[in-house]
Symmetry: C2
Subunit: 200 residues, 2 copies
């Protein structure tokens, strides 16, 4: 089996959401699996190359329109959230707690959170919303509370972010395969060529 594709995303990134709707099918076409990694691209994120995408850009008219157009281009349901750029630390904690135990269930949780934010305009920074989504998947209240607040859960997300920083991640979505970095949905055709015919 070939190495999996590492897929990094932030729950509040429109482009990360769009990628989440595309990457599994792309990988499957080339008999690859995908490892989903939720990260938190907030002000504390320190990329290896000191690359910082200005937050003014992510909230610009250009990007708002571009995300809508990109979703339409790919046929992905999308509505600009009324509160773009919410804190995603807690969503990431719950994701990793579930995903570490059961990757498939973790991805289901991620998909429901992304759908809640980017289709239903729910506030995924609110603990009640996350809990309601977790409950839909049969996650018990106790496991959920641990995921939200246990020190180990915080440390888990911090380690994930540290690892992303060390690997040169600086945006969402971000893909790494065989050490090669691809940033953005717009690099998916290049990633696909890599999978088809190797390094170029």
């Amino acid at each position: 089996m070939s190495t999996p594709i590492d897929f990094y995303f932030d729950f509040s990134s429109p482009y990360g959401y769009i990628a989440s709707q595309l990457i599994d099918a792309l990988a499957a076409r080339h008999a690859r699996s995908v490892n989903w990694h939720a990260i938190v691209l907030d002000a504390n994120f320190q990329s290896l190359e000191r690359i910082k995408i200005p937050s003014s850009m992510m909230r610009s008219d250009y990007v708002l329109r571009d995300a809508e157009r990109l979703a339409a281009y790919y046929g992905v349901a999308y509505k600009t959230p009324s509160s773009l750029g919410v804190n995603t630390e807690q969503a990431a904690r719950v994701f990793h707690a579930i995903h570490d135990r059961n990757p498939k269930l973790g991805c289901q949780f991620a998909n429901l959170v992304l759908k809640a934010y980017f289709i239903e305009d729910r506030n995924i920074a609110a603990v009640e919303e996350l809990q309601s989504i977790a409950a839909e998947l049969g996650i018990e209240a106790e496991e959920f509370q641990d995921a939200i607040s246990a020190p180990a859960s915080r440390a888990r997300v911090k380690a994930e972010v540290d690892m992303a920083e060390a690997r040169g991640v600086f945006g969402s979505p971000f893909f790494i395969v065989e050490g090669e970095r691809f940033w953005g949905n717009d690099r998916l055709p290049q990633l696909e060529r890599w999978l088809e015919s190797g390094p170029y």
Copy 2:
């Protein structure tokens, strides 16, 4: 005849160079013409939405590798210039002087300058290099000197940059068609869909 595509580029932008090799053919497929606009995306450039692409990003290992990979992806000859990010004010002055008089000749000049920089690793901030390229196209020394230093030529570039700022341009390459903005080579498929089937 449908409205032309406005194509903005900076002579020192690898992505702008790659776009220059693609845009005319794309436009021709849809019976559109292309208006080439050389701009100078230096520290003085003030985008409408205050979007500033960090120069650290343009010189990062990621972008250097990405530009090489993108060129390979499109089959465009490309060699990272040894002096990436040179000043392109003078190249833009000469371009506009020629292009205003003869658009086709202006584009030929642009292509030779881009080739000099991105294939032959010549320093396109040097007046001698620009003059040698202009001479290849039969531009007389007097016309060249005017283009380099006449107040009208400086004002011409400034007006072009002001117009780009006012239209919401903030990077290279940048395309505008029917008021819709597309930033980057990676938006060419979306631009093409727009030309095929209208707004979406």
